[in-house]
């Protein structure tokens, strides 16, 4: 790795860590339902206005079942809205490019599931499929709402840990409203304005047609057909900045354009690239501090954060190394060493303005969180470089995972760790004073089992059905990686694609949608059940006989459990994909 690579990583992680405490403390005010300092004076009336219009009582409390039902109904409504807006976009306003209804219906179904579940898997190209209306009212709105949904689940779980002998977990409607107006909207506004300043468009005008400086001949469809002279190019624009901001902040990842953050109008330069990475990591990590604040022991939050960052770096650094090292088979033909004039490394599928280092960092950031935005094409990464983002997702999106979902997913692992470590000190395991018993184990097991099971089953189905095999364009281990990655990404609500796989078929649309919905809601429901069960329990005061859950030792055990229980179960599958490909490459090199 080059010194520049180390510097880039240190700068990114350092900046995010500096922001964790202020942003985390701010969010603690939001979720402890206290008046929010500063912006509270402006946004407070807005909040109260929303309650009045929607008939929400801010003091109302829900138990875990009511909270969950409210959440599910709200998401069902969102799902239907996204689906119908796509199908009706031809008749709706803000459609200067005259986009017809999104078709086939399986694509609209897949997209609706994708945006409701915070996955943002895209089997379509935004600029040639979606009208401005759909982008703004369906996709961007769901970007906000799905991120808020994740936050509400997390807040309910944290309340379950902090409250004692009660059924009350707070109000879904209040938590949703406060997440939106105090956290996601203001932060998105700031980021969108900065992005606009760097050249990201924010307009409702139609696509721009420009004259080429250098017109060229395009060969005809057949040898005899005449070639055409191309003199103009259509440049897609739109309300990009507003969607770009929440795409990163809400760990959504659904790009306005097909090329996502590799597109110069989504991510014009190194600064925007850096800001987008910071935006992606900010909320999942900052909430660790919020969590620590809410449980009255910030070290608990830092411990979980440490586990997340260590796991992220453990796969980010090899990814950067692999991409910077380049392809050994090409060493004979071209120089891949960094020089003052070129970044070196594996530049296939990467943007010249980012180079291998910032592409690999972005890849790890976007897969460690459940974002799935990309600024380079993973399909053309080196085998090991491609393995890293895939494995980061397969950790069940906990390093650091999505907004809300990352931490509640991580807390499920914490419960498992507490259980095993607790036994080893000879006590019925407890976390933050709450006894962890059979019910919690059952629910935590479900929450942890669902995503890997879906990945494995989905890939297995794709492997042996004609419809699944039809999507493969590369044979051998690389084709397997593409398939495995597609299922991994959807069944963990990430949404990035390895590409190379033709996903817009009825088979992949429907299978993918089912995976995304199951992965999202079958982790939310058990998590909420645990929140309810924990809230009913007493809090046992800590003593020297209690397991310390904020020590380096505990962080180590937590990481070890995630690696052995989840990461290693993918080892055999990965051996047939990226590992086999890497070994083949190395064998040929010798």
């Amino acid at each position: 790795m080059t010194p520049n690579a180390w510097l880039q990583i240190a700068l990114l992680i350092g900046t995010v860590l500096l922001l964790v405490k202020p942003v985390g403390a701010y969010m603690a005010y939001v979720y402890e339902n206290q008046p929010v300092p500063g912006v509270g004076r402006i946004l407070g009336p807005v909040e109260r206005g929303i309650y009045r219009v929607c008939g929400i009582s801010p003091q109302h409390q829900q138990d875990w079942k009511r909270y969950t039902v409210a959440l599910l109904l709200f998401n069902l409504l969102g799902f239907m809205a996204v689906y119908l807006l796509q199908r009706w976009q031809g008749w709706l306003p803000f459609n200067p490019a005259h986009m017809p209804a999104v078709a086939p219906s399986s694509l609209a179904f897949n997209t609706a599931a994708s945006f409701v579940t915070n996955t943002d898997w895209q089997n379509y190209a935004g600029e040639s499929t979606m009208s401005y209306c759909t982008q703004m009212t369906a996709l961007a709105v769901q970007n906000f709402l799905s991120a808020s949904t994740g936050l509400t689940v997390l807040v309910a779980l944290v309340r379950g840990l902090t409250r004692k002998t009660t059924a009350e977990l707070g109000s879904f409607w209040v938590d949703l409203t406060r997440s939106m107006i105090y956290i996601l909207l203001p932060l998105s506004l700031v980021l969108a304005v900065v992005l606009v300043s760097q050249g990201v468009p924010q307009t409702l005008d139609k696509y721009i047609t420009v004259h080429l400086v250098q017109p060229f001949h395009q060969a005809g469809a057949s040898a005899t057909a005449p070639s055409t002279l191309i003199t103009t190019q259509t440049i897609a624009v739109g309300p990009v900045a507003s969607q770009e901001a929440i795409k990163e902040l809400g760990t959504n990842g659904g790009g306005f354009f097909n090329a996502n953050s590799a597109h110069p109008l989504e991510n014009p330069n190194g600064l925007t690239n850096f800001l987008e990475e910071v935006a992606i990591l900010l909320l999942p990590l900052a909430f660790c501090y919020t969590f620590g604040r809410m449980v009255n022991d910030t070290r608990q939050g830092w411990a979980v954060l440490a586990a997340m960052v260590i796991l992220l770096l453990a796969l980010m650094i090899p990814c950067v190394m692999a991409e910077q090292a380049g392809n050994p088979l090409l060493a004979r033909y071209c120089n891949q060493q960094p020089t003052p004039l070129q970044p070196g490394g594996n530049m296939v599928g990467k943007e010249a303005r980012f180079g291998p280092v910032n592409s690999a960092i972005f890849a790890a950031v976007t897969t460690g969180t459940s974002t799935g935005a990309v600024n380079s094409m993973f399909d053309s990464f080196t085998p090991l470089g491609g393995l890293c983002p895939m494995w980061l997702i397969q950790l069940s999106e906990v390093a650091p995972g999505g907004v809300g979902s990352g931490l509640y997913g991580m807390l499920m692992f914490v419960l498992i760790t507490v259980f095993i470590a607790g036994l080893m000190i000879g006590r019925t395991p407890e976390y933050l004073g709450k006894k962890i018993e059979a019910f919690e184990m059952k629910m935590a097991s479900v929450a942890i089992l669902v995503p890997p099971s879906l990945v494995l089953l989905g890939t297995a189905v794709a492997c042996v059905t004609a419809a699944g095999l039809a999507g493969i364009t590369n044979p051998g281990p690389h084709g397997f990686s593409e398939m495995l990655y597609a299922m991994t990404s959807q069944a963990n609500n990430n949404g990035s694609a390895f590409a190379g796989l033709n996903g817009d078929t009825t088979f992949y649309n429907v299978l993918g949608a089912l995976l995304m919905l199951a992965a999202r809601f079958w982790t939310i429901i058990p998590t909420m059940a645990i929140a309810g069960s924990l809230a009913r329990k007493k809090i046992i005061p800590a003593g020297s006989g209690t397991l310390t859950t904020n020590s380096p030792l505990f962080v180590f055990i937590l990481i070890a459990i995630i690696v052995v229980v989840i990461a290693l179960t993918f080892f055999p599958a990965l051996a047939l994909g990226p590992i086999a490909e890497q070994m083949q490459m190395m064998a040929r090199h010798r």
């Binding site: 036994l423 006590r427 019925t428 059979a438 281990p477 055999p572 086999a580 083949q584």
Partner: protein, 697 residues
Amino acid sequence: MATHHSLNLLKGNVLRQALVDALVKLNPRHQARNPVMFVVYIGSVLTTVLWVQALLGHGEAPTWFIFWVSLWLWFTVLFANFAEAMAEGRGKAQADTLRRARKDTTARKLSAPQRDAAQTPVPASLLRKADLILCEAGEIIPADGEVLAGVASVDESAITGESAPVIREAGGDRSSVTGGTRVLSDYLVIRVGANPGEAFLDRMISMVEGAKRQKTPNEIALNILLAGFTIVCLLATATLLPFSIYSAHSANTILAVAGHTASAAPVSITILVALLVCLIPTTIGALLSAIGIAGMDRMIQANVIATSGRAVEAAGDVDVLLLDKTGTITLGNRQAVAFHPADDVMEKDLADAAQLSSLVDETPEGRSVVILAKNKFSLRQREVDHLGAVFVPFTAQTRMSGIDLQDRHIRKGADAAIEQYVQSLGGHFPPEVRATADKISRSGGTPLVVADGARALGVIELKDIVKSSIRERFAQLRSMGIKTVMVTGDNPLTAAAIAAEAGVDDFLAQATPETKLKLIRDYQAGGRLVAMTGDGTNDAPALAQADVAVAMNSGTQAAKEAGNMVDLDSNPTKLIEVVETGKQLLMTRGALTTFSIANDVSKYFAILPVMFASIYPQLGRLNIMELNPHTAILSAVIFNALIIIALIPIALKGVTYRPRPANKLLFNNILIYGLGGLVVPFIGIKAIDLILNSMRF
């Protein structure tokens, strides 16, 4: 039961029985109770079928290979059965001894609770609750019950293993009798307290046999976790079949394009089963039930009978111990420290009389009086025989002991008893003696008044002696996060003095059953788990409230019913041991779970390079142990089976437990069982592989 204290894992008959039981337990209904081992069981059946198929010429893998994998999978199942049978076997042996005590006798049923009421002979097995029976010297008490009339010494060695007889009498804290014990002297009129089959002895037998053993809450939670982990492994291995079908097909296509013959084949079912069994947590799965049974068994070895496994587990969680001062913190026996003569008596005369009265008194208190007199006034011990004295032993009725010596009748006892004695002889009990006695009582000592006939001579002051090692014990408990609270009837001043000397964290002085109950409730309201011991009927409410309640076997029926454990030795210090046994049980589970999961890492490296060899031969580079590809998988399977046998002693004895803070404990266990679990299989699998190859397998 003292004879069972020796823990011999390889006692011939237990071992033989366990081997037989291991086979009996192959019954699928038994296997289905343990999800992890059930998967191994199904795998064994499946590979056996594949082997038969191979014998018939349709093998999906070499016949020898399927045979050996299948054989070792069966061994894995049998080893698990064997571990469980070993744990049960030791309990069974004890149950048999107990059963011998439950002889079917004929009881003498009474029509009224008097010794001379009308009697009808009834077989003991037909006695019902509330029947009245009479037991005389030499007879075996036919059923559990409460003494309504009479005082008798009873031999309870059949239950407790303690050969010294105990006194049982009507009323008070010593009124309960247990079926199967023998009356040695006098008679007892007993009201039967339990129907046949529900008696203490029956409960004890079913407990040690494990017949009624239900899974404890924590065991259930762990089972769920292990089942979940098994499902992940099952999916991860089962999906490898479609994955490898795709990969083999794809590899063959590429080979065909290059003009080579298609040689890649999907992975065989046998290998998948082998991988699955190696990955699922078989080590802990196989030993889990043995650990639970052995935990109960360790309690029984310590002569504590728990009414449920739940209670044993709860013992590990206890964070407050309520300890009775007497017998736990202080020696039950107080020691003489001073003589306080009455106004008209010389101290030396008092000492002389006190010594005389204690010459034959073999209790520690008595001996301490003799020694004090010797030290203070050089009074030599005299031989009772030479003096022609008659020893008057302590009885429950008189509550005095002493010596009759020619015309002297020296008695010593509690002030109230002596006062009564003196007054009954027409004497006068001097006020200064009473005042001294009261003063001693107030300062935490015990006064013993000595009288010679109708004349009270003075008071011997006995004092509590704090046990020598108790302070360190409490310090250990504190480091484990357990708070100790001394409970005593003493006044706060005395209690504070003893508490400070013993190093307990807190004390409850002038304890009454009500204040005890309140104290427990207060701690529980603060989220703490409380353990206590008790023996009297007035302890029953507190025992019922406490999370872990150890009733003394010498205690009343009410106390025994309120508690969730009974200590046959009636030793209050045992509470600490009970807590440690509970912790050890949980720790053993945790340690072996960690070990089991950590084992997985090596198995991936043993099996993966071989299983995909025909598809991607390049994956051979993952064979970091450099195993022979022909024996690698078998080596992993054999290791996986043998490690169960190797860990049976840990499962039965429990992991070594030393009281220390949680973090140190965790660090040590992670080092031993986590890191050990990671490294040991790498060495073990490699060693087995070398052995297999040296045998030209």
